[in-house]
């Protein structure tokens, strides 16, 4: 039986020095990722991007093509990494930006607020252009084609959100 006093968590966390993780969120273009000139040794984490998982899949594929092995997290796990002081840089997918803020793929606001609180630098990278701002509510009720929520449940799927400039400085 496993003794959790010698927890796997402690062992894993020791592998990451403080402020060593680069976090990616949203459906980024290959061009924007390649411009970063990431080293193969970087600890790169990618948010999966529910409900489509398109962000996690596409960004992971691009990174693998760059010979970087990404670690996928679900969209609710970034806060843990910030709380542990492990994040050194955040990169979020941006549709449009001006001096008041940026229109980003949903989830960016969470990371921007966390980055500001934990004083982690944040970068806006080009996102694949979206033509819809609200997703099909049915998409959040299922996972990989399998129904999760009971009949009658409503779904709400914002695909983009506004990130005020105060979180991007």
């Amino acid at each position: 039986m496993q003794d959790y006093k010698k927890s796997k968590m402690n062992i894993i966390l020791e592998c990451f020095s403080r402020e060593s993780i680069i976090l990616f969120q949203g459906i980024l273009t290959a061009e924007s990722l390649k411009k970063l000139k990431l080293s193969r040794d970087e600890h790169v984490f990618v948010s999966e991007g529910r409900p489509s998982l398109e962000a996690g899949r596409k960004v992971s594929a691009i990174l693998l093509n760059m010979e970087i092995t990404p670690t996928v997290i679900s969209d609710n796990m970034a806060g843990f990494l910030f709380f542990k002081g492990l994040v050194k840089e955040v990169n979020i997918a941006c549709q449009y930006a001006d001096n008041k803020g940026a229109l980003c793929d949903t989830g960016a606001l969470i990371l921007a607020v966390l980055a500001k609180k934990h004083r982690v630098p944040i970068k806006l990278l080009a996102a694949e252009r979206r033509t819809r701002f609200i997703g099909d509510p049915q998409t959040v009720l299922s996972f990989e084609g399998q129904r999760m929520a009971p009949k009658g449940t409503h779904g709400y799927v914002p695909l983009v959100e506004w990130v005020p400039a105060k979180y991007l400085k």
Binding site: S47, E48, S74, N76, M77, G79, I110, Q146, G155, W162
Partner: protein
């Protein structure tokens, strides 16, 4: 009053413990028969039950293990050890310690430890049920007419029952539930039991909480907790920390259902479970992401007390 099956998801009958398999809800309400501590550890570790269900399983498991071949006290201590090491974050040792203490005290006083264990477990369960029902009323009291409430993961029946109670008091409420990847407790359990309670619930992806708060679609957040520290920090399902940070940023009150304990001084002392990354990367036996991709799955995170607006505590008698 409406009572959710998740409020009391395990029961003992003729020396078999029946545990609701929460991984099958809402498709099925199936109870797993547990006959010994090995089975109990399995249902906990495989997350067939979780949150309050774990508490019920831990206490009732002692009732299954009262007739060993060898020394009873030594056996009960071994049972406690196995339960304490089933998962790391929930404070199992605080619960098993009460039962072991009662057994030891009885033995020292010349009383049959079996009677002491049975009395302790039954008394504990009766007390905790009454306190949880009281907390349902306390939660309902915090709900105001026209509230739009965000919740995360699942709080074992209490939120849905409070919603039902508040509705009976004429309060019109709306709920948003995060889906709570990767186990989808929000999508599967919370939406189901809120609907059973005749409440209006909308499911959102975990990444949508910022939009909800910035757009003022929610005015209150209510979550549970798996563990409390002496300073008021709590540990709860992964995702709770970022919800708490965003709620603070957008001046939305965060209400947490807690089980006060002085077992650890602060959240920093709480062990956080790291679960198998395949639970994130694989679904229905198929890889969700490219095979070379790695995964990282901490099961819980810590919410510092300064981010909590109000704790609705339960006194478990620990």
């Amino acid at each position: 009053m409406f009572e959710s099956p998740l409020f009391w998801p395990a029961y003992l009958k003729e020396n078999v413990l029946y545990v609701l398999d929460e991984t099958l809800v809402p498709s099925k309400l199936k109870y797993i028969p547990v006959k010994n501590v090995k089975g109990a550890v399995t249902v906990i570790r495989e997350m067939k039950t979780r949150a309050f269900g774990q508490f019920l399983v831990v206490l009732n498991t002692f009732m299954l293990e009262l007739n060993p071949k060898g020394d009873l006290l030594k056996h009960l201590q071994d049972v406690a050890h196995q339960l304490n090491n089933s998962r790391p974050t929930f404070p199992f040792a605080e619960v098993t310690g009460i039962v072991i203490g009662a057994a030891q005290k009885a033995a020292a006083g010349g009383i049959d430890p079996r009677l002491a264990v049975a009395k302790t477990v039954q008394g504990f369960l009766a007390g905790i049920r009454a306190r949880r029902l009281q907390r349902v009323q306390d939660i309902a009291d915090t709900m105001q007419d026209q509230d739009s409430i965000l919740t995360h993961c699942n709080v074992s029946g209490e939120l849905a029952m409070a919603a039902s109670l508040a509705a009976s008091q004429g309060k019109r409420l709306k709920f948003f539930a995060t889906e709570t990847r990767p186990y989808m407790q929000g999508a599967k359990l919370t939406t189901w039991e809120l609907q059973e309670a005749k409440a209006t619930v909308t499911l959102v992806p975990d990444n949508a909480i910022g939009s909800l708060m910035a757009d003022r679609l929610v005015n209150k957040v209510i979550i549970g907790s798996d563990r409390s520290a002496a300073n008021g920090d709590i540990a709860n399902k992964i995702g709770s920390y970022q919800i708490a940070v965003l709620a603070k940023e957008f001046n939305i009150p965060l209400i947490v259902l807690t089980q006060p304990s002085k077992g650890v001084a602060s959240g920093a002392d709480m062990p956080i479970e790291l679960r198998d990354a395949n639970e994130l990367l694989v679904f229905g036996g198929k890889k969700v992401f490219a095979s070379k991709v790695k995964g990282f799955y901490p099961g819980f995170d810590v919410v510092p007390h300064e981010l909590i607006t109000k704790a609705i505590a339960i006194n478990a008698g620990l």
